[in-house]
């Protein structure tokens, strides 16, 4: 890692129903624009943005997935290596909110157990068409141990905050993990206990 021009590398995967604004969120964050009518995402798209937080360079690998059912097996294959998942719904679309438990089951099944999940309610610029109240979403996020944030990719509300806060959280998580690992590891040849019990440890 230290060989490259960044201090941390994180993978973030965006999931959620088609049309909730995942692609717009990613484009807003990585390119600073709100793309006009670009059509539904095919498979997965991949973008990189390097940000600096407190003097440290953080490379964010952002995977934007297609929401349609027929791409599910492709998108699922990315869950496991994700450090964070951004589960997105559309606040003006009750249906997209009602599908969240289904997405959570996917996460449960395929993602790393240490993955950080953020629930995002997008399109707050369309406040007059809101179908899901903030309180309801917050309560739901609370029961599922998720962070919750409302955004507008169109008006650029909270988009920067979403990714930067996530990066901060990932850094502190990574630091904590490094600490735990250092305490655990014993020199080879001095092995006191067999440590390869934790096979799937977080990298």
């Amino acid at each position: 890692m230290s060989m490259e021009d960044y201090d941390f590398l994180f993978k973030i995967v965006l999931i959620g129903n088609a049309g909730v604004g995942k692609t717009c969120l990613v484009r807003r964050f990585t390119q600073g624009l709100f793309p006009p009518g670009q059509g539904a995402t095919i498979g997965v798209d991949f973008m990189i943005k390097t940000v600096e937080i407190k003097g440290e360079k953080i490379k964010l690998q952002i995977w934007d997935t297609a929401g349609q059912e027929r791409f599910r097996s492709i998108t699922q294959s990315y869950y496991r290596s994700a450090n964070a998942l951004i589960l997105t719904y559309d606040i003006t679309c009750e249906e997209s909110f009602r599908c969240l438990p289904e997405w959570l089951r996917e996460i449960e099944q395929y993602a790393n157990s240490e993955v950080i999940t953020v629930l995002v309610g997008n399109k707050i610029d369309l406040a007059e068409r809101r179908e899901v109240s903030q309180q309801r979403a917050e309560e739901f996020a609370g029961t599922q141990n998720m962070y919750y944030l409302e955004t507008s990719a169109k008006e650029s509300d909270n988009v920067e905050k979403l990714f930067l806060d996530l990066a901060c959280r990932l850094i502190s998580e990574a630091r904590q993990n490094a600490l735990v690992n250092n305490v655990d590891s014993s020199l080879p040849g001095e092995g006191k206990s067999i440590t390869y019990l934790n096979c799937c440890n977080f990298n």
């Binding site: 059509g39 539904a40 027929r70 040849g189 390869y196």
Partner: protein
């Protein structure tokens, strides 16, 4: 100074009269007087210079007076010149207005000629159309109409207003009628030609449409004709496919082949008809044709895919697989091998689709490039976006995406099941360092990723790389972990040889023995072999992963060089492959853990007691004992023999890399333990010499068993031997500090004193007095 004084107001001096009057003090008066005198002197000298200049000024005045008459002459000339210029100017103005009039006249003349031409043309067209129509020379008639359509409408309007207005009006009416008539006729003739499948006639009338300004209609009609052909051929092919006997050569790929025929047919149509289209309709219109053709293609694809799903039982197989994956063993278990044909067929279908779509894209893009060469950037972008949307969201793309979606799950199942089998059937032939499952597993992974690659779908390939990474990293690594976790058992023989060392060791070994109790001594050997083989397996896995990654990189580069995928695709694959490579490191970590385990359970408990025997050999010896040791080595030779025996088993059972690793751990261990016992011993002068001999033998032996340099690991011990061999305490100074030469001391001054103190013949006061 003189100057500044000279400019002091109207001839006045620095000192005003009032000031002089007000002076009362003699001293001040004197000073004022002196200053005034000096002033006077300056003024005088200035006056002199000015007077000196008088003659020059006078001369100049004279010269000026002489110039007066000349100036009057010049003034006269200038007035004359101005008059001439005004005249010329007027003249020029006159000429240029005439030229302007001429220009106007000329352009009007041209227009008149043009209009005359146009009117003549119009007449010619009017006459021509009628004869041409009578002769059924539709090309000619259309050419006339085309000429008429290209005429300036205002010309026609003007002609109507002219003297022959009425005749023209009538003719014009005929012409318009002829135009309408021709449109109808051409359309009818085209339809008739289409019906009778008369290609030359179809093409004949296809060429006429653009002359009548009916580009879209022409393309749409022609496409309709082509689509019918596509449909007819496709239906025939599908019927043939459905009639194929199971035993026929490509029976297992028949639906992929049917799809291929469909694509090839369309590609051939494009190849054949693009030149006519471009010639008669101009560049930039291929997209329109393709759009129509793609609609037909989609209809046919739907039928083929439907039949494929139905005949291959694709959805049921998928559901079966899914339930197997969900619930583990299910009632109707699928043999992975049975999935082989269908997985191959689906990937082939996908590959053909990608190839076809790329062909279409390439063709339309280059047609747009020519057609849009003068267009604005926005128009260009819009055209390309439309094409992109057509390709991405056509039913063909969606259908194949769906098939591939199912494929990935089935391929994953195939991989997992096959890997499970390989693990279950794992065997290791005697004399082999690794067991069968490693090669088997990597063969399977390679096959599955290779098949995904053959689909030409980047997302499909990435997904399979990801799934393989997951399988290797968690499932397969877990298998190897479990094998290593069983530990390396100590044999009874070694137990006896070791003697009762410590209660802890005893407990540990009996616990480990307990695991293999039921199988007895032989299985104990097997357990040992199993452990060593697992270590080798882990190492080979980490290497194989890197090889797999490299090979995949090469394969992908080949794919890219064929024009498949862009920068985005490359970045995706790179990322997925680097994840895969990082699994290699996890296997390396596992290897280190396993080696550590082997070292601490099988090597250390044996080696430590052997080293501890050093303590039972006195190094506080005299000549006689020294000689006796010379004849009957008391420790090191047996130690070396023991090491040799201990390591022989590992040398035979471990790959050279791992064995090297283990010997490295062993040498570190020996160095560390030997240092401990040396510090617990006491030495005479000859004892020091004895130790030096022993150490040299040991290092010489260890150098032969490892390719790594071990001198470094024994540097501290070698330095301790040097100290124990000194004649006098102060002799250390010959090697210390400025005298150390190339030698880098690994012992601290305190340690040097500690070692010196091991010599019973060195006095502690001397040691204390040393200045290190």
């Amino acid at each position: 100074m003189a100057n500044s004084l000279g400019f002091q107001g109207d001839g006045g001096s620095v000192l005003s009269m009032e000031h002089v009057r007000s002076l009362t003090d003699l001293q001040d008066l004197k000073e004022a007087y002196e200053r005034l005198c000096a002033e006077e002197k300056d003024v005088e000298s200035e006056l002199l210079t000015l007077l000196g200049q008088q003659t020059i000024v006078e001369k100049k005045m004279l010269a000026l007076q002489r110039m007066g008459p000349n100036l009057q002459l010049i003034e006269g000339d200038a007035q004359q010149l101005s008059g001439m210029i005004t005249f010329t100017c007027n003249l020029a103005e006159n000429v240029s207005s005439k030229v302007r009039q001429l220009d106007l006249a000329k352009s009007r003349l041209y227009q008149a000629i043009q209009r005359a031409d146009d009117i003549l043309d119009l007449k010619f067209c009017m006459d021509g159309v009628q004869t041409a129509m009578k002769n059924e020379d539709y090309e000619q008639a259309a050419a006339h109409i085309h000429r008429y359509l290209c005429l300036d409408k205002s010309v026609i309007e003007l002609s109507r207003q002219g003297k022959e207005g009425n005749i023209i009006e009538a003719n014009l009416h005929h012409l318009q009628e002829a135009e309408q008539h021709l449109k109808v006729v051409v359309s009818e003739k085209f339809d008739a030609a289409t019906k009778s499948g008369d290609l030359p006639q179809v093409e004949r009338f296809f060429k006429i449409f653009p002359l009548l300004g009916l580009h879209e209609e022409g393309i749409s009609k022609f496409s309709g004709y082509l689509c019918k052909q596509v449909a007819k051929k496709a239906e025939e092919n599908l019927q043939l496919a459905l009639g194929t006997e199971g035993g026929e050569r490509r029976a297992a790929l028949i639906f992929a082949d049917t799809l291929t025929l469909l694509f090839e047919g369309i590609a051939r149509i494009v190849e054949t008809h693009q030149p006519i289209l471009e010639t008669y309709y101009g560049p930039g219109r291929l997209y329109m044709l393709i759009k129509h053709l793609q609609a037909e293609c989609d209809r046919q694809v739907e039928k083929v895919v439907d039949k494929f799903v139905q005949h291959r039982d694709y959805h049921r197989k998928f559901q079966q697989v899914q339930s197997c994956m969900m619930r583990g063993s299910s009632t109707d278990k699928i043999e992975p091998r049975d999935l082989d044909p269908i997985l191959s067929e689906v990937t082939l279908m996908s590959a053909r689709t990608e190839l076809y779509l790329r062909f279409i894209k390439r063709r339309v893009v280059s047609d747009f490039e020519v057609g849009d060469s003068m267009a604005t950037e926005e128009v260009k972008q819009e055209h390309l976006q439309n094409l992109d949307k057509l390709i991405k969201h056509c039913l063909l793309s969606c259908s194949v995406q769906e098939l591939i979606g199912y494929y990935i799950t089935m391929e994953e199942f195939y991989m997992r099941e096959s890997v499970n089998k390989a693990v279950a059937m794992d065997t290791c032939e005697r004399g082999q360092l690794i067991s069968s499952m490693v090669d088997d597993v990597f063969y399977i992974v390679k096959k599955c990723i290779g098949r995904a690659l053959s689909s030409s779908s980047i997302d499909c390939l990435c997904a399979m790389i990801n799934l393989s990474t997951t399988m290797l990293e968690s499932d397969f690594r877990e298998v190897l972990c479990n094998k290593l976790r069983m530990g390396f058992p100590a044999t009874t023989f070694q137990d006896i040889q070791r003697g009762v060392t410590s209660a802890v060791n005893l407990m540990q070994s009996s616990l480990q023995q307990g695991k293999f109790d039921t199988k007895g001594i032989e299985s104990n050997d097997e357990a040992k072999m199993s452990f060593l083989v697992s270590l080798n397996n882990v190492e080979v896995c980490s290497e194989n992963i890197m090889t797999l990654k490299k090979n995949l990189e090469n394969d992908c580069n080949k794919m890219f060089s064929q024009g498949l995928g862009g920068e985005q695709a490359k970045a995706k694959i790179d990322s997925c492959l680097s994840d895969m490579a990082s699994v290699s490191n996890k296997f390396k970590d596992l290897l280190q853990e396993g080696l550590g385990e082997l070292n601490s359970t099988a090597v250390k408990p044996q080696v430590k007691p052997w080293i501890n025997l050093f303590l039972s050999v006195s190094h506080n010896i005299e000549e006689e004992e020294f000689n006796d040791y010379e004849a009957n080595d008391p420790w090191v030779q047996q130690f070396i023999v023991n090491l040799e025996q201990l390591m022989a088993e590992f040398k035979a059972g471990l790959s050279s890399v791992i064995y090297e690793n283990l010997t490295s751990l062993l040498t570190s261990l020996i160095a560390m333990e030997l240092e401990k016992v040396v510090l617990k011993s006491t030495f005479s002068r000859l004892g020091g010499l004895q130790f030096d001999k022993e150490l040299r033998s040991l290092i010489a032996y260890l150098t032969t068993v490892t390719t790594w340099t071990i001198r470094d690991k024994f540097a501290r011990l070698t330095q301790m031997a040097t100290i124990l061999n000194l004649e006098r305490v102060t002799e250390i100074l010959d090697y210390w500090g400025p005298n150390s030469g190339p030698l880098t001391w690994r012992l601290t001054p305190a340690e040097v004193r500690q070692v010196l103190a091991l010599r019973i013949d060195f006095r502690s006061e001397d040691i204390k007095r040393l200045r290190l």
